[in-house]
């Protein structure tokens, strides 16, 4: 099992990354390949910053934990993204998708506690 500190850091990292995804989605509406103009697209910049920050946390945790454990656990991010898309972006989730969320949570539980 992961040490508690690492687990908390990991969960925080995936939440930060999921927020990054939400901001990237908000910024995607105004996205085009005029990259200089995109520097003023606050949502994209903030999203990239947050995703980058979560990646740094991930690499730091990789230093301490096995890859074969940590990599599947990153799918926790999908769970946050699903919740945030419903809450913040008002997207609709179907029953199979919620089932997918449940399977991911079950898998994460199996990997991190056994």
């Amino acid at each position: 099992m992961l040490p508690l500190f690492a687990l908390v850091l990991f969960v925080l990292g995936t939440i930060i990354g999921a927020y990054g995804s939400v901001y990237l989605k908000l910024g995607a509406k105004e996205f085009n390949f005029n990259l200089i103009k995109q520097l003023r697209n606050k949502n994209v910049i903030l999203g990239l910053f947050l995703v980058g920050f979560s990646t740094i946390i991930y690499v730091l945790l990789l230093k301490a934990e096995r890859l074969s454990i940590l990599y599947p656990l990153t799918s926790l991010g999908y769970v946050w993204v699903a919740l945030f898309s419903v809450k913040l972006l008002k997207e609709k989730m179907s029953l199979p998708k919620w089932l997918g969320v449940a399977f991911i949570i079950a898998g994460i539980f199996l990997i991190s506690f056994f």
Binding site: Y58, S68, Y71, T74, S75, S94, I104, F109, I111, F114
Partner: protein
């Protein structure tokens, strides 16, 4: 890391949807769609292999990570990991150009399998049976989220 993927997917999903609405669904185009789908799936399989090697290099880079400017910028495995990852991301976008997200996405979770194989052979890590079951659970869940309607 996989979050970057997800955000790319969200963007690409919009692009694909835009394209599809303008497409007429005649019989001739239907067989072409089938062919496109097959090539997209082979691209996505290559993409997951790139991402998985990216993960392997990231881990190797993280192992020798030092907290100094040179330690970070002269860390070759770390740089290789980022490059492999970027190639994987480009391949993913490319494969999404021609096939639906719901077709492509279940194949993305192949990378979980590659990573566990790679970390068994190159990092001498091993999963317990319960952890392996957990991984299969996650693969199924990710396929449901990405592949469902």
């Amino acid at each position: 890391m996989s979050l970057i993927y997800l955000s790319i997917l969200q963007g690409a999903d919009l692009l694909v949807m835009k394209k599809e609405s303008g497409m007429s669904r005649s019989k001739a185009s239907r067989s072409r769609i089938k062919q496109d789908r097959l090539s997209s799936i082979s691209i996505i399989v290559v993409c997951t292999i790139f991402t998985s090697f990216g993960q392997l290099f990231l881990k190797l880079g993280a192992n020798k990570l030092q907290f100094s400017l040179q330690g970070i910028f002269l860390n070759l495995p770390l740089a290789a990991g980022i490059i492999f990852y970027a190639v994987g991301a480009v391949l993913l976008i490319y494969s999404l150009k021609k096939a639906d997200l719901s077709v492509i996405y279940p194949f993305v979770s192949l990378s979980f399998i590659w990573v566990s194989i790679l970390s068994y052979f190159f990092l001498h890590e091993s999963l317990s049976i319960i952890q392996f079951a957990g991984m299969l659970c996650i693969i199924f869940g990710v396929s449901l989220i990405g592949g469902g309607r």
